[in-house]
């Protein structure tokens, strides 16, 4: 098991390195420097600025200096918010995005998991069709449509919930979390239904039933572990999707999280901010994929036996 974890960690290193390198050179390949837009900057000032941001060095030296900073955990300064570092922007945005993502994931796992399991227990009945049609709607309804529709209905027509903000008014966290979580609830429902259906048809489940265990114990003790494997494996990719979804949700609900910073940086062409955030988010995604692989391997008895040999 440790060898598997260590091996996967070693695989993640080149991926993160490729991400950093590709992002760095892509951003540097962008036409126009960051200070070209400002009109009438005195050449001396421009030179001083460029020295401060190390733009006067040859490209490869800039790259190695950037790598050196990164190793020390320094993501660099922001071009657009003078005097603020990307570390500070990430520190202020990350807790918000993490909280939003955590609620969304919780909604996805609880609602999606429950409806998937219920559907698998009575396949091809109403108990299966209703949640699965809901899941189909969830998959086909993009976040950026669901968000405005919820705002229109619950925020404006019914006036039940606040339409923007995060942690300012009670209840303002509900709609963003549902908007972000809905699509993942749908995927989790489909995956857990498929996983449970497969597991419940296995011999060991028949054995568990034959030895007289009550149905709920068969499902929870014996079924869940195997049936939820696809869901666990999906969590890694889902995490990446949740981050991208947070771009949209934070824009719609005006939430001061990482996603909104990123979209704003993309609009303002704040290159260091884009570079820093991309490196940060990518590393997070790679690490989360790794984690979900490890948990999936740990939950899978066959794989675990194979690994500990």
């Amino acid at each position: 098991m440790w060898r598997f974890i260590f091996g996967r960690l070693l695989q993640a290193v080149p991926v993160i390195f490729i991400v950093i390198t590709a992002t760095f050179f892509l951003v540097r390949a962008a036409p126009g420097g960051p200070f070209d837009a400002e009109k009438a900057v005195i050449p001396e000032v421009k030179a001083a600025l460029e020295r401060q941001y190390r733009l006067d060095l040859p490209l490869h030296e800039q790259y190695f200096a950037y790598l050196g900073d990164l190793v020390q955990g320094d993501l660099g300064p922001s071009f657009k918010y003078p005097g603020r570092s990307i570390n500070e922007l990430i520190e202020s945005g990350l807790p918000v995005t993490a909280e939003l993502g955590a609620y969304a994931l919780l909604i996805a796992l609880i609602i999606g998991g429950l409806s998937g399991i219920l559907a698998a227990l009575r396949p091809n009945t109403l108990q299966d069709y209703i949640p699965m049609s809901m899941a189909m709607i969830g998959i086909c309804m993009p976040t950026f449509l669901l968000g405005p529709l919820l705002v229109l209905f619950f925020g404006i027509e019914l006036d039940w919930l606040p339409v923007s903000g995060w942690g300012d008014i009670p209840g303002d966290k509900i709609m963003p979390s549902i908007t972000l979580g809905a699509a993942y609830a749908a995927y989790v429902a489909r995956l857990s239904r498929a996983g449970m259906l497969e597991v419940l048809s296995q011999d060991y489940i028949r054995t568990a039933r034959a030895k007289g265990l009550p149905e709920w114990q068969v499902v929870i003790k014996h079924g869940l572990r195997g049936g939820m494997l696809p869901v666990v494996a999906f969590l890694g990719p889902a995490f990446a999707g949740l981050l991208a979804g947070s771009f949209v949700v934070e824009t719609i609900f005006q939430i001061p999280g990482l996603g909104r910073f990123y979209v704003q940086a993309a609009f303002n062409r704040d290159y260091t901010m884009i570079l820093g955030t991309t490196v940060f988010l990518s590393t997070l995604i790679v690490l989360f994929n790794l984690l979900s692989d490890i948990v999936a391997a740990w939950l899978n008895p066959r794989l675990r036996a194979q690994l500990s040999e």
Partner: protein, 291 residues
């Protein structure tokens, strides 16, 4: 193993069987019908659109659906139905073209890796593994920022992301097919690898490829709409469903129809494609998992 042999021996009847099974699936047929009509409308838009694409009527402004403007007009007095029809051309084109790019790269890559095998295969699939781990959504945003919002680049960028699973599916298929007698026969007849892949391997792997293609199109369309919604995709004067939804969301309090109708167009298309994909998967009896 055995079903694939059976399928290969049955030849064309596989498709007849699949069509018979698909015909029984009402939702899939509905999806096919809806999709066909949307594509037809998109192709014929320049001739059948009720108004000219750039026709404005500033005096009229935003009006709800009426007999003159079936889906209403936007704040510039432009006919919404016309906008949705033209936007659909772009949305559907991105869906089909980017998927075609993914299909071409993925099938070629997977077929070569699976056919040649050995070290070449190991290296090629390692590259796929590494690319899989890259956070592409963020990369596409980055590409759009760095190189400007250009439609061709959007096609290529999305296509370049979506080919990975296609490559894995194709490789798996080729690995099983390669060991069969008809391929050995082709080799002993002196055919080159390119001909064998094109004439014998690709046609026999068509089932899973078609199913996966049908399921790739909606995810590509969603990606385009996502980017356009954030203002990083299609740019005016061009329009797409994602862009129309984004405009609609801005003014939905006063003019909700500007959000609802483009949203319905996109959601219905995604429904149709997903139903058709699910139906085809059942009809062609392909296992869902990509690996």
């Amino acid at each position: 193993m055995t079903d694939i042999t059976l399928q290969a021996e049955k030849g064309t009847s596989l498709w007849e069987d699949a069509w018979r099974r698909l015909k029984k699936n009402r939702l899939a047929l509905f999806g096919l019908g809806l999709l066909t009509s949307f594509v037809l409308v998109a192709l014929l838009t320049p001739w059948i659109a009720p108004y000219a694409y750039d026709a404005q009527n500033l005096d009229l402004g935003a009006t709800p659906p009426s007999s003159a403007h079936w889906l209403g007009t936007d704040i510039f007095g432009r006919d919404l139905l016309t906008q949705i029809m033209y936007g659909g051309r772009i949305s559907l084109a991105v869906g089909f073209v980017a998927t075609a790019v993914a299909l071409l790269i993925g099938v070629t890559w997977g077929a070569i890796a699976g056919y040649v095998g050995g070290r070449v295969d190991a290296v090629m699939m390692r590259i796929v593994d590494i690319l899989y781990a890259l956070p592409f959504m963020i990369f596409i945003v980055l590409l759009m920022v760095v190189f400007g919002r250009n439609l061709l680049l959007l096609f290529l960028a999305i296509g370049a992301v979506e080919w990975l699973t296609m490559a894995r599916i194709m490789r798996g298929q080729v690995q099983t097919l390669r060991k069969q007698e008809f391929v050995e026969a082709a080799i002993s007849l002196g055919l080159g690898p390119a001909t064998i892949i094109r004439r014998h391997l690709v046609p026999n792997a068509l089932g899973p490829i078609i199913v996966y293609t049908t399921l790739t199109i909606p995810s590509v369309m969603l990606l385009e709409a996502f980017l356009s919604f954030l203002g990083l995709g299609v740019q005016p004067p061009e329009t797409s469903w994602g862009l129309l939804i984004s405009y609609g969301a801005e003014t939905m309090e006063e003019y909700p129809w500007l959000l609802l109708f483009p949203g319905m167009a996109l959601t219905l298309t995604l429904f149709a494609l997903n139903f058709l994909g699910d139906g085809l998967r059942d009809a062609l009896d392909v296992r869902r998992s990509a690996d």
